[in-house]
Point group: D2
C-alpha cells in the first residue's frame, strides 16, 4: 500500500476510507489482495448499476477484444457504435416516445455536462445559467461552475461566475411555493438576473445528499422553462440508467428535457462512456465544434448495447429495482425507527437511498464502522451528513438484507444506541 502513499497525489480520496488493496470483483462483492470479501453498497458511485464484471457483458466484451474489434475510434463510424445507436433507439428512446440526437462527448459525465452547457449557450446566444442548490455536475471549469459544493468550487482558482443558484425542491421544506423566487426574478426586468440560456438539474441530487425532486416540481420546472424560453438540461449521469427505477430518472414526471447527460452506468461494465441527448431542433453543433480523443470507446459501446438488450428489453428490471428500492427504504426506516430521538430520516428514490443524520460526523462514523464489517458505503451532502446507499441494482435480496444488518449494527454503535 505504500506504493500509493509514495507515488500517488494527495488528491486521492475514497482509498483513505477503505485502506485495503482491492483485486477482483463480481456482482456486489469485491475481494482484496488478502482474500477478504466486501459487500458493495457504493456501486462505483453509480457507475456499477449492473454490478462488477457481469458475465452477460463480459463475454461479448472479451469476444469483441478477441476478434480485434475497433477499440479506439474517435467519432468514426464503427459496427459497435452502429449497434449501440440502433439498440439505444429501439429499446430506450422509441418505446418511451423520446426523440433525441445522440452526441458522444468525451467519456465522462463532466465532458457531457460541458458539451450540453456549451451547446445551450450556442443555441440561445446567452451566457448565463441556472443551477440548483446542492447540485453536482462535475469538476472541469464549466461543470464546476454549476456545482454547489464550496470546497470543490474553491479548487477552481478563479471566480465561478456565470451561473446563479436557485432553490432545489424542498429547500424550504415546503414552506414556499415552487419557483416563487425563480419566476419572480425572471419576470422582473429590474431583478439583475442575467437572462439564462439553460437550467441544469438532477431529479435526485446524489452528491448533494440524496434529495429527490417531486414529480410536480419537475413538471413545474419543465413548464417554467418552456414558458420562459429556457433550455432544460437534466443531468442523469448518476440517477439515469435505472438507478431510480426507470431508465431515465425523469420518466416518472412525464417530461422531455431539451438535453440529457448520461454517463456512469451507460456502458454497464464500468467502462468510461458518456452521452448527450439533444432534441433534434437543438442539434446545432458544427462538425468538430466539440471533440475529444476518447469519445469513441468502442468496447464500452459493445457492453452498453448488450446491457440494453439484456436489462431493458422489457420493464421487469425497472419493476424489480422499484421493489428493491422499497425494501431498502423499509430497512432504513426500521434502522431510523430504532433511534427515535436522533433526528435521523430516510431519503432518496428507487435504489438511491440513504439516512440523513442530525449530528455532524455521525454518517461518516457509521460508514467507517460499516467498513469494519466489510460493507462499502459512502456519505453525501454538503456536510457529509447522509449515509448513501447506491448498491448495484442487481444486488440480491439476501445481500440487501446482509448490508442492512451491517448498517443497523453500525448505526447502533456510532449513536451509542
Amino acid at each position: 500500500m505504500t506504493v500509493f502513499e509514495d507515488l500517488e497525489s494527495q488528491v486521492r480520496s475514497y482509498c483513505r476510507n477503505w485502506p485495503v488493496v482491492f483485486d477482483t470483483a463480481k456482482g456486489s462483492r469485491l475481494t482484496d489482495v488478502d482474500g477478504n470479501s466486501y459487500l458493495d453498497f457504493f456501486g462505483g458511485a453509480g457507475a456499477l448499476n449492473y454490478g462488477h464484471n457481469p458475465d452477460v457483458l463480459k463475454k461479448p466484451l472479451i469476444d469483441y477484444l478477441t476478434r480485434d474489434g475497433i477499440t479506439h475510434g474517435l467519432d468514426m463510424y464503427t459496427t459497435a457504435k452502429g449497434d449501440f445507436l440502433n439498440t439505444f433507439q429501439d429499446k430506450i428512446l422509441a418505446p418511451r416516445g423520446l426523440n433525441y440526437k445522440v452526441q458522444f462527448p468525451g467519456p465522462t459525465g463532466a465532458n457531457a455536462v460541458e458539451s450540453a452547457l456549451k451547446l445551450a449557450r450556442k443555441i440561445s446566444g446567452k451566457e448565463a445559467l441556472i443551477n440548483f442548490t446542492n447540485a453536482f455536475h462535475g469538476m472541469t471549469l464549466g461543470a464546476l461552475s454549476v456545482t454547489g459544493n464550496s470546497m470543490k468550487r474553491g479548487g477552481a482558482g478563479i471566480p465561478l461566475v456565470h451561473s446563479t443558484p436557485m432553490p432545489f425542491d424542498n429547500y424550504f421544506d415546503g414552506t414556499m411555493p415552487d419557483f416563487l423566487w425563480f419566476e419572480k426574478v425572471l419576470d422582473d426586468t429590474g431583478s439583475s438576473l442575467n437572462e439564462p440560456a439553460a437550467v441544469i438539474v438532477e431529479t435526485v441530487q446524489g452528491e448533494g445528499g440524496l434529495n429527490p425532486a417531486r414529480i410536480e416540481w419537475l413538471r413545474g420546472l419543465r413548464e417554467l422553462c418552456t414558458r420562459k424560453g429556457i433550455l432544460m438540461i437534466v443531468d442523469d449521469v448518476q440517477m439515469g440508467c435505472g438507478r431510480t427505477g426507470p431508465f431515465f430518472s425523469f420518466e416518472i414526471a412525464g417530461i422531455e428535457p431539451d438535453m440529457v447527460t448520461i454517463s456512469k452506468s451507460i456502458s454497464g461494465y464500468g467502462l468510461p462512456m458518456a452521452l448527450v441527448l439533444i432534441k433534434p431542433e437543438y442539434d446545432q453543433w458544427g462538425p468538430g465544434e466539440h471533440n475529444g480523443t476518447f469519445r469513441g470507446n468502442n468496447p464500452a459501446f459493445v457492453t452498453a448495447a448488450e446491457t440494453i438488450r439484456h436489462w431493458w428489453s422489457d420493464d421487469a428490471f425497472e419493476k424489480d429495482t422499484l421493489r428493491k428500492g422499497e425494501k431498502i427504504a423499509e430497512g432504513l426506516e426500521r434502522i431510523v425507527g430504532e433511534h427515535p430521538d436522533a433526528g435521523m430520516f430516510v431519503k432518496g428514490r428507487g435504489m438511491a437511498r440513504g439516512i440523513q443524520f442530525a449530528e455532524e460526523g455521525l454518517a461518516e462514523k457509521a460508514a467507517a464502522k460499516a467498513f469494519e464489517h466489510r460493507l462499502l458505503l459512502e456519505t453525501a451532502g454538503p456536510k457529509d451528513e447522509v449515509l448513501k446507499l447506491l448498491a448495484p441494482l442487481t444486488t440480491t435480496d439476501d445481500e440487501i438484507d446482509e448490508g442492512l444488518a451491517i448498517i443497523a449494527e453500525s448505526v447502533r454503535t456510532v449513536t451509542g444506541g
Copy 2:
C-alpha cells in the same frame, strides 16, 4: 451508415471524411464492414502509438477481464493501479531522474489539463495563465480557454478570458529574440499583464500544425518560468508516450516541468486514461478536491503497465522511433521536392510529421485523395494547411513506404503535378 446520420449529432467530424463503417483493426490497419483494408497514418490522433489491439497487451487485458480483476475503481487502491504505479516509477520516472507524484484525473486529456490548471491556480493564488499561439489543450471550459483555434473557442458561448497568448517558438520565423515580448510584459509593472500562475505548453504543437519548439526555446521557457516564479506545465497528451522519440517529449531539452499532462497513448491500447504528473512540492491538493468517476479505469492500468514493460524497458523503441521519424521526414522531403514551386515544406519531430501547403485547401484535398487510396490521414493547423502523419510508432518500414507512396501520388494529383 444511415443509422449515424439519423441518430448521431451533427458534431461528428472524422466520419465525414471517411464515410465507411470500420469493424476491426490490427497494428496499422483497419478493416471496414465490406472487408476493405485501410492503412492508418492517423493513429487515433495520437492515442494509438502502439497500433491497434497489440497482442502483447491484448493478452493481459483479456486475462485481467477473465479473472474478474477490478474494472471500475474510482481512486481505490487496486493491484492493477499499484502495478502501474510501480512500473511507471521504475521504468519511466526513475531512469530519467524525474520525481513526480501521479494524479489520476478523469480519463481524458482535457480532464488532465483542467486538473493541472486548477492546481496551478491553487498553488500560486493567481488566476491568470499564459498559453501559446496555436495551442490545443482540450474542449472543456478551462482547457478551451488556453486553446487557440477560434472556431473551437467560439463554441464556449462565454468569453474565454483568463489566459493571455504569447508567441510560440518561431512565430516570427526567427526574426525576434525568444521571449522578448513575454519577458518584457512580465518585468514591466505597467504592462497590464495579469501576473500568471502558469504557462501551459506543448513541445510540438500537434493540432496547431506540427510546430516543434526548439530545444533552446524550451530551455529558455523553463529558465524564464523558474526566474519569474511561474509554474511550467507541459501538455504531453499528444506528443508524450514516445511520439517524438523519447517517452516524454521534453526530454530532449533536459528540462523538468512542474506538471506534465499525459493521456492518449498512455494505456497503449486506446483505452481512456490520463495522468497529471506533479512535482512533489506542488502536490497541494486536498483529498477529493478534484475527482471524477472514471479516474480508476483499471483495464487501462493493466495495459499501461504492460506497455511500459514491453516498449520502455530499454531505449530500443525510442531509437527506432527516431529512425522511422527520419525515414518519414526524408520521404516527405522527397514529395515536397517534386513540387519545388509550391511553397510546401516538411514539419514536425519524431514520428509526428507533416507537410505544410501554401495553397489553402490543398492539404484537405490531399488527405481526401489519400483516403481514396485507403490511407487514413488528418490535417492540422489553423487553416488545415498541414497534412499530418501520426502513424503508430509500430508501423513497419514497408507500411511507411506504402503510405508515403500514396501520399506522393495524392499530392501529385491535387497539385496537378
Copy 3:
C-alpha cells in the same frame, strides 16, 4: 433646439420628455428661454435637495470664486476641504455618534460606488457581491454589475457576473420571512453561492420604483452582515442628504453601515461631488490606490460646508422634511382615492414619494400631461410604472399644493377619470 438634435448623442434622455430649452432656475422653479416657468418636482434626480441656486450657498460660492480660492485641487490639502471635513465631522458625524473616515472619490455617485466595491473586495479578499432586486447604483462597469435594470445592464456589452441578486424588502409582499433565501444559501456550503465580500443596498430604492425598506429589514440585514462577516454598504447617493428626513437615510434604523456612498445633493448646489464614508478599521486603501482628477472640486466643498451649517446645525430641517413628506403622501393618497378601482397606490418615504400605477404606460402619460401643465416629474420602476416625486426639500407648502393639483388633474386626464 436643433443644435441638440444635430450635435448631441442619441443617448440623451430627459430632454426628450421636456423638449424646451431651460435657461435659469431658482428654488423649485426653472425658466425656459421663452420665459415660461416650470415647477420642479424632479429635483435634479435628487441632486437639488435645497432647490436651484439657493442664495445662502450662492453668495459664499461667488465669494470663493472671486477671491480665487483653489478651484481644482485633486487630493491636495486646501482650506475649503479642511472646512468641509471639520463641518461634516462636527455637524453630521459626531452628533449622530458615527465614526467614519472620508474618502473623496471621483465626483459622481458611480465613482463612489466603484470605490466602495473595490475597497470591500480588497478588505475581504473575496470577489463576490450581493445586490438587491431593482437596485440602482450607477452606470460604470462595477456599479452597473450591482444594478438591476436589464436595459441598462445590457449596455455593458460583457456579462455582468460578480454579483448575485437577493430579494429586496417586500419583494414577496410580506409572504416570506426576511432573508430566508439569503441566509439559507449563506449557511449552506453546498448552495453554490460564492462567499460575498459585501452587500450594497439602498434604504429606499429610487430608480427601482420608490421602494422603502422597513426599519426591521434594514436592522435584520445589518445583523445578518455582522453575523456572517459581510461588509454592508449603504448607497445613500439619492436617499441621503435629507431626502427621507434625516441626513442619512439609514438613521431611522439605528444602524451603522461599514461604508456609505454619498453624492448628488452633498454639495447643496448641484455641483459634482461624492464621498465614501468608511469605518476607520476598513480604511485599508494604499495611497493613490483609487484616484480621479476631479476628486477635489473645491467650489463644491465650499457650498457643501455651507449647506451643512445652514440646514443641518439642528433638527428643524429634518422635521420639516418629514412634515412635508407626510403632506405630499396625503395629497397623493387623495389622488389615488379618486380612482379606487385603478390599482394605484402611494409609495416612498420622506420627500421621496410617488404613485404606482397598475396599467402599463400610465405613469409616463401622467408625467407627460403634468409637463403640459409645466410641472417636471419623472417616472421610476422597472417598467416606469411609478410617478416619482423628488421635489426639492425646500419646496414651499404652496408649491407642494400647486404641484399636487397638477398631478391630480394629470392623473384624472390619463385615467379617463
Copy 4:
C-alpha cells in the same frame, strides 16, 4: 493639517508629497495658508491647461451664477449647453473637418472611457478590447481593465480580464516592426486572441511615463483598425485640449478616431466635465442607456464655451504651446546634459515633457527637492522614474525659466552632481 490626517481616508496621495494647505491660486501659482507661493508645473494633472482661475473665464462663470443660470441640468436642453455645443462645433470640429456627435457622460475621464467602451461593445457585439502597455484610462472597473499599472489594477479585487495588452510604440526601442505581434495574432485564427471590439490608445502616455507615439505609428494603428474592423478610441483626456499643441493630440497624425474621450481641461476652469465624441454612424446608444447625475454641469459648459472662444478661435495658442514646449524641452536637455553619465533622457511632446531617470527613486527625490523650492511637479511611469512637467499652457516664459532653474538645481542635488 491634522484634520486631514484625522478625517480623510488613507487613499489620499498628492498631499503626502506636498504637506501644506493651499488656499488660493491664480495662473501658474498657488498660495498656501501661510502666504507662501508655489509655482505649478503640475497643472492639476492636466486639468488646468489655462492655469488657475483665469479671469477670462471667471467673469462669465460668476455672471452665470449671479443671474441664476441653470447649474445642474442632467441632460436637459439648456442655453449653456447649446452655446457650448455650437461653439465646439464651429470652432473645434468644423475647422478640423471632424464630424462627431457629442455625448456628455458623467463629468470625469473615467466616465467617458466607460461610455466609450460600452458603446464599442454594443456596436460590435464583441466583448474583447485591446489596450497598450503602460496605458492609463481611469479607476472604475471598465477603465481600470484597460489600465496598465499593476498596483492600481490590484485594487480591483477581481480579475481584470477582458482586455489584452499590445506593445505601445517604441516598446522595443524600434527593434521590432510596428504592429508585428498585433497584426499577426489578429490574422491568425489559431492565436487564441479574442476578436477585439476596439482599441483604446493615448497618443502620448501621460501616467505611463510621457511616452509619445510617433505619427507613423498612430497612422499605422488607424489603418490597422480600419482594415480589421476594430473601433479606434483615442483617450485624449490628458493630452487633448491643447496639451501637446493642437486641440486634439491626434491631429498631427491626420487621423480620425471612431471615438474620442475628452475631460480634464475641457471646462478650462478645472470644473468637472467630460465628453465622448462619436462618429455619427456609431452613435447607436438608446435613450438613457448610459446616464449619470452630473452629466449636465452647466457652469462648466459656460467656461468651456468661453475657453474655446478665447483660446481656440485661431491657431495662435497652438503655436505658442509648441514654442513653449520646445523651450521646455531644450531646458530639460540642458539639465540632462549636465549629467552625461546618468542615463537620463528627455521625453514627451508639446507641453507634456519630462526627464526619465535611470536610477530608481531619483525622479521622486528630484520632485521632493523641487517642492522644497516651491515648485510642484509629479512623477510618472510604472516605477515613477519620470519627472513629469504639465505646466499650464499659459505659463509665462519667465515662469518656465524659473521652474527649469529649480529643476536643474534639484536634479543636481539628488544626483550628487
